[in-house]
Symmetry: C2
Subunit: 226 residues, 2 copies
């Protein structure tokens, strides 16, 4: 369960205060499937980085499962993050000289759940269509293949919540359908899925569509997937 | 004018020969507007890197403006590339600790055409909607903003040909329309535009749509833009 009240984020740049998030009020319950849309530069990734405990708000209230991340030490924040959140970054953020298989397995090294990790990493890579590319590092993978490695990695620790930032930006229609089926399947088991997208046919899979414009939520409506 | 005959590209990986392009026959004339589509991992970026003189084929014929790039020294290939081709990379490839403005201006440093470069870089950044983000480095730009810096940079040297690899993957509808208007405008002045996309509404702007599947062209059809 995530709650935000009057959440703000700003940067001090060149001596000026640049306000990115201007007061976000938001509640997302466990098990929801939410799509976040909005213009380029409107603050979607900034918000998702805060929800994923990768960044802190400048002001406002933010609670995740009745814990206030702002009051935690960096270590405790990292611990909660690695167990609770699976993150798919907009730019993938894979380790460069590391195979697809080792990239996917990485999250299990942080939480110490090594026992089934080899099987699980292989199953996840096969589920995203990369069974024959496991030993390729990012430089030997296409853009969409790297994106799918990042998606598999986000699911490694079986987190309660998956945050995916533009997860289908580099995928053709068929790969996109396979990935959205994966997210829908996860959500059907009770996981919370929050994804940022600019593609309406991706947002259509969600049961709730939030639109952000210029750092504020301008609409928040239920959606019935086709 | 680009001509390819039985163009192949393969990699030796783990002792095995992995064939990516399996015999591409293709002619693209000056001034065409071409979209290349196809599944993730089918070889689109690999082909575009060869057409953009950033990589060499393993075998087959390849000519650009009656020059055979394979017979050139690296230096001469770089010279022709910097004057002839504007490239928008799938992962943007911006310089990290460098402002948007300096990133856009960079190509003019290679060709020595500095005189108008300051004005031109500013005009291009304004044309892609980033007039108020010129001094931000990539880490202070959103994904779609970085993509638009890469698009502006590709146009800096006013090249004869623009190769754009998934140029709208991180853009919302309005930004996408603005960028496609920019490409269409360039093409109307006689520049060749070749773009890779998986979005049908982006490919619709082109007058020719080529589909690649598993390293081969499976269809090559004219298209009438709406
Ligand atoms: N350096 C390399 N060594 C080995 N294989 C490679 C290398 N670079 C790319 N590949 C493989 O070549 C194939 C084609 O890659 P390419 O990047 O051209 O695909 P693409 O059509 O652009 O895909 P996408 O739509 O996902 O960007 C992929 O299966 C990839 O794994
Ligand atoms: N470190 C930073 N310092 C200053 N400004 C920043 C920083 N990071 C992001 N910004 C600015 O914050 C705004 C929002 O960025 P954000 O990445 O959240 O946008 P977005 O909605 O995800 O856009 P996109 O759809 O293009 O990915 C942008 O205008 C960007 O320039
Ligand atoms: Mg973003
Ligand atoms: Mg590609």
């Amino acid at each position: 369960m995530i709650t935000c009240k009057n959440l703000k984020k700003s940067y001090l740049i060149g001596g000026e205060n640049l306000e990115i998030l201007k007061g976000i009020d938001l509640t997302i319950s466990q098990g929801e499937f939410v799509a976040i849309m909005g213009p380029s530069g409107s603050g979607k990734s900034t918000l998702m980085n805060i929800l994923g405990l990768l960044d802190v708000p400048t002001s406002g209230e933010f609670h995740i499962n009745s814990v206030t991340p702002g009051s935690l030490t960096d270590d405790n924040m990292a611990k909660i993050r690695s167990r609770t959140v699976g993150f798919v970054f907009q730019q993938f953020n894979l380790l460069a000289r590391t195979s697809a298989f080792d990239n996917v397995q990485l999250p299990s090294l942080y939480t110490g759940t090594r026992r089934h990790s080899i099987h699980r990493a292989k199953d996840l890579l096969t589920a995203v269509g990369l069974g024959d590319r496991m030993d390729h590092p990012p430089s030997q993978l296409s853009g969409g293949q790297q994106q799918r490695v990042a998606i598999a990695r986000s699911m490694m620790n079986d987190p309660e919540m998956i945050l995916a930032d533009e997860p289908t930006g580099n995928l053709d229609g068929k790969s996109q359908t396979e990935i959205m089926a994966l997210f829908s399947g996860l959500n059907a088991t009770g996981k919370t899925v929050i994804l940022i997208t600019h593609e309406a046919d991706v947002a259509a899979y969600a049961r709730r569509i939030i639109t952000i414009r210029d750092g504020l939520i301008v609409s928040d409506v239920p959606n019935i997937p086709p």
